[in-house]
Amino acid sequence: MSNLAKLTSIDRRWIFLLIGLGTLIPVLLPIGFPVRVTAPVKQIYDKIETLGPNDVVVLSYDYGPTTGAENDPMTDAILRHCFSHDVKVIALALYPLGGLTSLTASIDRITAEFPDLEYGVDYVNLGYKDGGQATMKLLAEDFSGAFPNDTHGTPLSNLPLMQQVKGARNAQFAISVATGIFGEWWANLINAQYGLPIAVGCTAVSAPKYYAYLEAGQMLGLIGGLKGASEYEQLVKDNYPNTREAYANPMLQTASKGMDVQTIDHLIIIAFIVIGNLAYFADRRAKRA
């Protein structure tokens, strides 16, 4: 058996080691690859740009910590964009851990960068509600039907922003940053039944299924995986100089930095696929001989 053919039975710990190094080194020594913005992401950015100071975006945190590395930079960039552009935000979660950790942590983190914002007037955190599609149907008609109080226990009737919009259908735009099937529910229940423009931010592995909705016009845009998140970050950084300071923080894990890791790891995986096939053919030739 040739040396190349022996590679078919390489110890997988070598692969693990290379992937580990390919992840660790770019995190410690960022490369800063350029980001090219694609149409599905730009369409979401452009939609928010058309909104005015009295318009409302519903941002649903439909993901948990498992996909936070991909989804957190999306919600952070969307919030920075909305607040920089003076658009009001109603944030909620339909995924259990989205409300407990991602939503509140994200709202606290981003609103700290905008000290002029007033809770209840410029943004509201409704927290998490169980019930999936039933909750979604309720909040489309009337937020208070699904969320009688916000996450601090304040009745919605005491929050000025919630007097402005009765249900999600009265908002101007809804974005679901989702893991699993939640994004599809927003397309099927909210866009299809109420006509509210919606967009989805999803993990890279979920992105293919959403292209069917995107192409059918049931979604206005799509932020797919870390790549999509880095594109949105780039748009916000380029057009809102006030956000550059936050993104310049070396301790902040952004999608742009994550793209360095993704680039190196994809190249390692492709290299292993090529090596694996060369070894496979060498092994087959050796067996025939």
Partner: protein, 223 residues
């Protein structure tokens, strides 16, 4: 017979029919819209009970595992302890007991016990589990992506194009190809799957609403 079969079928019929009928009525239509909204609120409450059912199931399964000293029984203790910790402090926080202001942060900025468990135990553990996927995907790609036949070759080429198209180095060349692959062949296939699944779900729903499908009651067609 009535309580076990006819009543559940009647309830299912009306619960299934009301949202369909309400969809065709305008906003503000009395009775129909109100009834539909009440039903949706009830569904949220019922789904809460499903969580409780899940908790009971997890406890039963893991207690059995510990009693029988099955493989990994020690982890079952850790799981139950974690569930008890989060469950008790979550419930206490939600009911504002023991001076807890809720399940988020306290007034002085410190996390409540529930939030502490969420932030410093559950979140990193879940993120770690998902992060391990990268290693296994790399290993699986090395072993599985082989040019064995035409179908496997198409799959391999598509995967490599998409991987290159989604990184800055390969994007100028492979980005447009990736977008085309996502929009056209992938979009067409996904649309077929989604429409097929939706038609299947609609027909199954009709069968349930009309009482033809009774397996959810533990009955077969003859009963």
């Amino acid at each position: 017979m009535f309580l076990k079969v006819r009543l559940p079928i009647l309830l299912t019929f009306f619960a299934g029919l009301i949202p369909i009928v309400a969809f065709f009525f305008k906003d503000g239509t009395p009775y129909v819209k109100t009834l539909s909204s009440s039903l949706e609120q009830d569904m949220v409450i019922v789904s809460g009970f499903a969580l409780l059912l899940g908790v009971v199931n997890v406890v039963q399964g893991n207690v059995r595992k510990i009693e029988r000293r099955e493989k990994g029984w020690f982890y079952a203790i850790v799981l139950l302890a974690g569930m008890a910790f989060m469950g008790l402090f979550g419930a206490a926080g939600a009911m504002r007991l023991f001076g807890l202001p809720g399940i988020g942060m306290m007034a002085d900025g410190r996390p409540t016990p529930f939030q502490w468990g969420s932030l410093y135990l559950f979140t990193p553990l879940q993120a770690t589990m998902f992060a391990l996927l990268a290693f296994y995907i790399a290993s699986a790609a090395f072993r599985a992506f082989r040019i064995r036949n035409v179908e496997a070759t198409i799959l391999l080429v598509a995967a490599v194009f998409v991987m290159l198209g989604r990184i800055p180095i390969g994007e100028p060349l492979f980005g447009p190809i990736t977008e085309w692959m996502m929009q056209v062949p992938n979009g067409a296939a996904q649309r077929g799957i989604i429409i097929g699944a939706a038609l299947g779900a609609a027909s199954l729903s009709l069968r349930v609403i009309l009482g033809i499908e009774r397996s959810y009651l533990g009955l077969d067609k003859s009963e």
